[in-house]
Structures are given as C-alpha cells and as structure tokens.
Amino acid sequence: MEIEVTPLDPTVNCLRLQGRLDAVAVDRIEVKVNASAVAPGHDLLVDLSAVDFVASLGIRLLITAARSLKAKGARMVLFGAQPLVGEVLEHVAIDQIVPVVADETAARALLAAA
C-alpha cells in the first residue's frame, strides 16, 4: 500500500491510497496516516480510487482518522471508491458518519458548501 498526502489548498489535504488496505497494510501505514494526514484545521479528502481491497481493519483506520480530525476541528470526506470497495463501505454504513462521494470534485464541493 502506497500513501501520499498532498495539500490541495491552505485548509484541505488529500490522502491518496494505492493498493490493498488490508490488515498488513494497516499495520504498516497507521502511524504514518495519523501523523501526516490528521492535521489541525486541515480537512482531509481521502482518495480511494486506487484502493482495490478493504476489510474491517481498513475501515477502522478510516474511522479513527475521522474521529481524530473531528477532535481537531477538521472533517474527512471519502471519494472514488471502486465498486467492490464501495460495497464494503455500504455494509458497514460508514456513510452515516463520514461523507462518501463519487469523486474529488464532489468532495471539494461538499466541503465548500458546509
């Protein structure tokens, strides 16, 4: 699993994940995600378009990061999930607690509108 955090503007970062977000990957990237992507005052868009697998530990990582962001006054939006990954997100109803949208444009629009 590759991860990259890039600033989109002064108040929004984008976390791009690539590969399998499985238990092995979570073990390897969890600290890095929380250290680099969870920044005070910076909302976070999470690009899932290159993620081809996720299960409960990957979901846990996303929820933990979303909670940390909220505690720092920031928000998370997930976008771009492939169909099978999107199915897992639906099974755990993550959209009830973290916005899930189709693409980056929709994610940025959602932040701008809120």
Partner: protein
C-alpha cells in the same frame, strides 16, 4: 440476510484439496491468501467472490490473532482445510483457542455519528455478509468453524 446454518457441512469424500496449518500472525495472511486463491482460480470465481474470500480470510485470521489465544505467548496456530463443492468454496477452520461462536454475536448497532463510533466490532459483521453459510461447533477444546462462500 446474514447466513445462518446450524449444521456442519460434511467433509469431502477424499482428503481436502487444501490443508494448511498457519501461525496466528500477520505473515500468515499472504500464505493463506495465495493458497486459497490458487485453489479457487481453476473454478473461475467472480471478482466479487474472490474479493469476498479475501474479506472472510482477513476477518477470520484477525480474530485468531487478536482474540482467540489471549493466554498464549508464542503465536498459536489454526488449521485451515478447504475444498470446492459445486458452486461453492468450503473452508473449515480448527483452533484450540477460547470457545467462540461468531454466529452468537449480535449484529452491531451502526453509529449515528462520529462521536458514537467506536473502532472495531465490524469483522464478524463482514464475515456474515460475505459468507453464504456459517456453521460452528465446539468439540472438546477445539473450535470448528465452517464457512461456505459462493463462487459466483
């Protein structure tokens, strides 16, 4: 609907097509995944079935690593037998960890907000969603869980 099956499917007529003894540690994921996907490949599973196998495998092994053997210092082990029966993959896991029937766990209550969300508790839920049937029995000091997955 979550799968419910109280009876254990029978073993295949011959030896199982695949039999693995795995240490309960993260490194076992790749070993198990390669072996089981290799068993499945000639049967041309759908992309969803292949994905579902990986989900189920991860949830089962994480349960072994995190919960099944709380008093064991060295990594414990779990035996996995698998075979294809008609349009399904059957996996039978056996371990000598604490008694644990995943079918007895209630469905999680999905949080209404981030404040209510608590990490964890989703693994069994996903296991039930992706398995076609699940059957559990405690035989002596052994947990036996049989998971059936549709190939398509």
């Amino acid at each position: 609907m979550p799968p419910r099956d109280t009876s254990l499917p029978g073993l295949p007529p011959g030896p199982p097509a695949l039999s693995l003894t795995l240490r309960c540690e993260l490194a076992s994921f790749e070993i198990a995944q390669r072996a089981l996907q290799g068993l499945l490949a000639p049967h041309e599973p759908s992309a969803r079935a292949s994905f579902g196998l990986d989900v189920v495998l991860e949830e089962l092994l994480m349960n072994q690593i995190l919960h099944a053997h709380p008093s064991v210092v060295e990594p414990a082990s779990v035996t996995v037998q698998a075979w294809v029966a008609g349009d399904a993959l059957v996996m039978r896991l056996a371990d000598r960890g604490i008694a644990f029937d995943p079918l007895s766990r209630p469905a999680p209550v999905m949080p209404a907000s981030l404040d209510e969300a608590r990490p964890g508790g989703l693994g069994i839920h996903l296991l039930k969603r992706y398995a076609r049937d699940l059957a559990y029995e405690r035989a002596g000091d052994e947990n036996r869980l049989t998971v059936t997955l549709a190939l398509r």
